[in-house]
């Protein structure tokens, strides 16, 4: 059963990686002069939208943490709204953190915010999909030994990798190479994207490697 689940995880993650790669090439067919560096904002939008869409679709198909009870429609709506609010709040939080890290406050607000949205897509949206709008569950998953399924583990790894990617992405900004990708926030968003894809690939491998050690507490 575990093997099968790992394979499923691998498939979904590869799908996500594939979608990220597609976002860098496909829009060029529809939009004139599209390039990841040149029209970075467009790419940010495209990437966040497509990754989030794919994540939601995958969630609806796979239901990694299925709730056995059938809930009413109203409950689902409220859940969805809650998810939206959480997502928006996480965007604001990321924006605030990025500004605290030194991003300009007023200038290039759009860039900063879209970067925050991208980061939220890579981190919060996944959490929302896997765990639902349940803060207690989030805290549980992100404490050291709180993962209950391989999905939780994968979530941990991709989230940490995305944030670390964005963190490392800030390093080249002070260098005086005058390269187009050193402009805020390109290096950071590229770093986050690389981190995210790396996390997506690493997660199944890591779980496969450590499958003997991983024992999940039953719910």
């Amino acid at each position: 059963m575990k093997e099968a689940e790992i394979k499923r995880l691998l498939a979904t993650n590869l799908l996500c990686v594939f979608s990220v790669i597609l976002t860098t090439t496909v829009p060029a067919f529809f939009l004139d002069s599209f390039s990841v560096l040149g029209t970075h904002l467009t790419w940010l939008c495209v990437c966040s939208v497509s990754v989030s869409a794919l994540n939601i679709v995958l969630y609806l198909i796979l239901k990694p943490n299925p709730f056995p009870k059938r809930r009413s429609f109203a409950y689902k709506i409220s859940r969805f709204l809650k998810c939206c609010v959480y997502f928006f709040m996480s965007c604001i939080l990321f924006h605030a953190i990025v500004v605290l890290y030194g991003a300009p406050l007023i200038e290039s607000v759009t860039e900063t915010f879209l970067f925050a949205v991208l980061l939220s897509t890579f981190t919060t949206l996944q959490c929302l999909c896997v765990l639902g709008p349940n803060i207690q569950a989030w805290i549980r998953v992100f404490s050291k030994t709180g993962a209950m399924s391989i999905w939780d583990n994968s979530l941990q790894i991709t989230t940490v990798c995305s944030i670390l990617g964005a963190w490392f992405g800030a390093f080249p900004i002070p260098l005086d190479w005058d390269r187009p990708w050193q402009v805020w926030p390109i290096s950071c968003s590229l770093g986050a994207t690389f981190g995210y894809t790396a996390g997506l690939i690493i997660a199944p491998l890591w779980i496969h490697w450590n499958r003997k050690l991983l024992t999940y507490k039953s719910r």
Binding site: L100, Y101, G102, I173
Partner: protein
């Protein structure tokens, strides 16, 4: 010998400071310099008096100019083979023709490393070899304050026009009647930089209202940097330059008929380029530049073409000074290039050489005490005597062959003397003193290894360890090593031609240093041996690291290593503040996560956590029971609450605690936008500039007043009543001082009144600073002697700290006062809500303090450039420049951030001693370690990068900052040890 960690660390740091001093002395040789140009503008010397009485030469003034107009075309990175080699023949046909057949003299000018534009321009215009110390001495402004050709020309009423690299405009502000500076910022721009210069040319050449025209072309340098000397772009650029030279030359020739005197065209390069196209080092291609003098005054070249003679780059300044009829710059070490004045009469030529020799010998007199023994000086005296004889013959009206022959002989004597003089002068600054640097580096590295090897023991709970001194000191190895090092010293000092500082020290000192080095080496070896021995023995009590590394630990380690590695890149050095801001931000977020875990996971009832919690809680209770003074009185009321409930921190405190990292983050963000520093984003608008602009004076006054009140509120809570009052008065004094010197205004003061120097007000504050520090010291001494309860000591420490805060408040510019407020605020929050509840150990807290100290160094507006040092702090309360207080005050104001954090660390740890008796020792050791790692690595980096393009602009200033920081850290560690001493006395009692 048993040593405590603190004592060990501070003695290590003292030794390290010695190593750093030696290294700095080797890296920055003292420049050859004369008195500042403002003083003693002595008249030029007369011709040497002929022997015998009664006859006096009547020629006492500076000789008249030889050229009416001078055009200097400086082509950046023009290598000698671009003109004299095959490239020159191919791409510079006109110049080649002028060199081979025209009226010109060509030379190869040798540039001294660092072959970087700015020092080269200085060398060309002052004739001296600029050292880095020059930059420090001229700290107030980037302008060149030394005597130089441009200044002399301007003083003599010459009109100078300049087009080209804006380095000139910064070096010589207000010297040019007309200028257009182009920035060399965009290295990828090959054409625009030069077109910006050439576009003025036609207009200027038509005009008559100038005497000197300087053109500095940057395009070739940019091509070199981007594509190298063999790129196809070089040819067309040389051709463009050739056309420009042709245009200038023809235009000068066409004017010549009208003027009485001929004009001169000088073509030179500031430095060459290496085979890869860069420059800065000392390879053949980088130091050899062409130097052409073209004028109709010269004889037409005939005969076979010879290889151009090698001269020094510094010779240009002297030659041009003579050619323009100006006094030779006082610090010049250049020799007159004789062929340029070859067309003049023998008397004039001898006169020029005498002037040059006189200037050089005077410079030698001012720089070397034993100048009379210098062979150059002796030669000059002999030549001067024969010159006198020659004049006697000349004045007698003798006009024969003898006169000419004697004149030639004198000429030769003079040239010989000049050569010896300038070579012995330029030896003093010519190169890095590698030997001293090596000795310094060895000491520093040994200290670092010693510190690293003793880390596990030093951070053990006892914080003291055995330093095996006697066995290594009596070992054979030690004596062998001493002998070997002394032998090396003798060999190096007797063989090396260069004057080496370490060799010039007395033999006793040198031997002492050698003994020190070998002792350190033996210490390291014995430490290694011990570690190996203990690792071979079976581990008796397996101290398994049950405490695995937390995120904060990982971050601290990664941050330290990352910062050290970042020092290798020039842009990371320029933007080092970004590194620190980034690190402390991440640190705050990591702390936030730690706090969240502490607060939220407890609820889950995780057994391990609850045990931890219980232990923590027990500790707290114990601490309270001990009537520990360090817990502020305000907390005492909560004692009951804490003990009664099982919760760790209750209610509102919990939320404040959770919010505290965010408050700190916001404070840091505000501070960050207060002073934009660094290089790349330094031009961005910031609050600091907004506040200091004159129309925002009232806002600035308001801010200053609020800040001072806040400082009082934050500082007073742990002070005694007397020092509270003193503090309040002192802060009032600070405000009135700033008002007196016109930085800020009193609310009742409408129109700006006359501005004074505020001496009384500043001294008023000094009195209180001294008073508070004195009270604190008295308390400290009392606690040591009478060994009263530790509260006296704690108050004493805090008083010393608040005295320093008051001093910083006085020295900081008013717009920087919020830095002080936030510093105090963050310290308070951190201590109360983060460090104490989370139970960080002394090592972690020390490193956090160090990081924040570094960040505050940049928050207060410092950078790794020399320009940001606030020299005005050295004049606060002083009538005139008094060296020692000025240096002390400037250093204090510059390093106030790190210093205040370090003293706060001391206060915090001393209050922590009751919990962990070794806290002080650990703190001191960690502080020393965390400081020595970057210094040691940076010194090695700088040594290997000494021919880097940015060595003078980026790496050297940083080296200086690091060096001074080491001295300050050594003092702090001594203070630590002294405080620790008290503690140990008391424990023994």
């Amino acid at each position: 010998m048993r040593l405590r960690s603190g004592v060990f660390a501070s003695s290590c740091l003292l030794v390290e400071a010695l190593g750093v001093a030696l290294f700095l002395r080797g890296f920055f040789p003292l420049p050859v310099r004369s008195v500042p140009r403002s003083e003693a503008r002595r008249d030029p010397p007369a011709e040497p008096a002929p022997p015998g009485s009664g006859m006096v030469s009547n020629w006492t003034s500076v000789p008249p100019p030889l050229f009416k107009k001078v055009v200097i075309v400086l082509i950046d990175a023009l290598r000698d083979d671009f003109v004299f080699g095959s490239k020159g023949k191919q791409f510079m046909p006109y110049t080649t023709q002028v060199i081979e057949k025209g009226t010109s003299y060509s030379f190869v000018a040798e540039a001294k490393p660092p072959t970087v534009t700015m020092p080269r321009i200085k060398a060309l215009m002052t004739g001296s070899i600029p050292g880095f110390i020059d930059v420090i001495v001229n700290l107030n402004s980037p302008a060149l304050l030394d005597d130089n050709l441009i200044w002399q020309a301007k003083t003599a009423g010459k009109r100078i026009i300049f087009y080209g690299d804006d380095t000139w405009v910064r070096l010589f502000p207000k010297h040019f009647v007309e200028y257009d500076g182009t920035t060399s910022f965009f290295v990828s721009d090959f054409t625009e930089v030069d077109d910006n210069v050439t576009r003025h040319l036609d207009r200027v050449l038509k005009r008559e209202d100038w005497d000197i025209l300087i053109l500095h072309y940057l395009g070739l340098d940019h091509i070199g940097h981007m594509t190298g000397p063999n790129s196809p772009l070089v040819g067309p650029k040389l051709h463009e330059m050739d056309n420009i030279l042709k245009k200038i030359h023809i235009s000068l020739l066409s004017k010549e008929g009208e003027a009485s005197l001929p004009s001169l065209l000088v073509v030179c390069g500031d430095h060459g380029m290496s085979e890869t196209g860069s420059h800065g080092g000392s390879s053949e291609g980088e130091v050899h530049t062409p130097l052409l003098f073209i004028s109709s005054a010269f004889e037409k070249r005939s005969g076979p073409i010879t290889q151009p003679k090698v001269v020094q780059q510094t010779d240009l300044a002297t030659t041009l000074a003579v050619g323009l009829g100006l006094p030779i710059s006082r610090n010049s070490v250049g020799n007159l290039i004789l062929p340029v004045v070859g067309g003049k009469t023998m008397r004039e030529q001898l006169r020029f050489l005498h002037l040059n020799g006189f200037q050089l010998s005077r410079l030698l007199q001012e720089n070397t005490p034993a100048y009379e023994k210098d062979p150059g000086y002796e030669h000059f005296k002999i030549a001067e005597k024969s010159h006198g004889n020659w004049i006697k013959l000349y004045l007698d009206g003798n006009n024969s062959e003898i006169l000419l022959n004697l004149g030639k002989k004198v000429l030769k004597q003079y040239l010989e003397a000049l050569k010896t003089l300038s070579s012995s002068l330029s030896k003093q600054v010519a190169q890095y003193d590698m030997y001293s640097m090596m000795v310094g580096t060895v000491i520093i590295l040994e200290v670092l290894f010693l510190l690293l090897l003793s880390t596990p023991k030093a951070l053990s709970s006892r914080a003291e360890f055995e330093v095996p001194l006697s066995p290594p000191l009596f070992s054979l190895l030690f004596y062998l090593m001493c002998l070997m090092l002394c032998a090396v010293h003798v060999i190096v000092c007797t063989s090396a031609e260069s004057l080496c500082y370490f060799c010039s020290m007395s033999w006793l000192t040198a031997v002492g240093v050698m003994v020190l080095i070998s002792a350190l080496m033996c210490g390291i070896l014995s430490a290694v041996g011990k570690i190996l021995e203990s690792s071979r023995l079976p581990v008796k009590n397996p101290v398994v690291s049950n405490s695995s590394w937390s995120e904060v630990d990982v971050l601290i380690l990664a941050g330290t290593i990352g910062h050290v590695l970042s020092l290798g890149a020039s842009s990371f050095v320029e933007e080092e503040h970004q590194t620190w801001y980034f690190l402390i931000n991440t640190l705050c977020l990591a702390l936030c996560q730690e706090l969240c875990r502490n607060h939220f996971l407890v609820k889950e009832g995780d057994p391990q956590h609850s045990i931890n919690l219980k232990q923590n809680f027990e500790n707290v209770k114990e601490a309270y029971e001990c009537k520990n003074i360090d817990i502020p009185a305000a907390d005492d009321s909560k004692l009951g609450k804490v003990t009664s409930s099982a919760e760790f921190i209750k209610g509102s405190d919990k939320w404040i605690s959770l919010a505290s990292p965010w408050i700190i983050l916001i404070c840091c963000r505000l501070l960050r936008s207060l002073n934009q520093t660094g290089v790349q984003w330094a031009h961005r608008p910031d609050f600091g500039h907004w506040l200091t602009s004159s129309e925002h004076k009232s806002e600035l006054s308001f801010l200053a007043a609020v800040s001072l009140v806040m400082i009082f509120i934050l500082v007073q809570r742990k002070c005694s009543l007397v020092s509270k009052i003193a503090m309040a008065l002192g802060l009032l004094g600070v405000y009135s001082y700033r008002a007196a010197i016109g930085n800020i205004i009193f609310p009742w003061q409408r129109d700006s009144k006359d501005i004074s120097k505020g001496i009384t007000e500043a001294r008023f504050v000094y009195v209180f600073v001294l008073g508070i520090v004195f009270t604190g010291t008295k308390d400290l001494l009392k606690s040591q002697v009478i060994s009263a309860d530790s509260s006296v000591k704690s108050i004493g420490l805090w008083e010393v700290y608040s005295g320093l805060v008051l001093l910083a408040a006085l020295l900081f510019r008013p717009h920087n006062l919020p830095v002080l407020v936030f510093c105090l605020l963050i310290q308070t929050i951190m201590a109360k809500y983060i460090w104490r509840p989370l139970k960080f150990d002394a090592a972690q807290i020390t490193i956090m303090h160090y990081w924040f100290g570094q960040a505050f160094f940049y928050f207060q507006g410092n950078s790794n450039g020399i320009a940001t040092v606030d020299v005005s702090a050295g004049f606060v309360g002083l009538d005139s420049y008094v060296e020692i207080p000025a240096i002390f005050l400037t250093a204090f104001a510059t390093y106030a951030g790190p210093l205040l954090w370090a003293i706060h660390l001391l206060c915090y740890l001393s209050s922590e001693v009751s919990r962990n008796s070794a806290a002080m020792g650990h703190g001191c050791f960690c502080y020393a370690l965390v400081r020595s790692i970057p210094v040691a690595v940076y010194i090695i980096l700088v040594t290997s990068l000494r021919y880097h393009l940015f060595i003078w602009s980026v790496f050297s200033p940083k080296l200086l900052y690091e060096g001074v920081h080491v001295f300050i850290t050594a003092t702090i560690c001594l203070f630590f040890t002294a405080m620790d001493q008290n503690q140990s006395h008391k424990v023994q009692d």
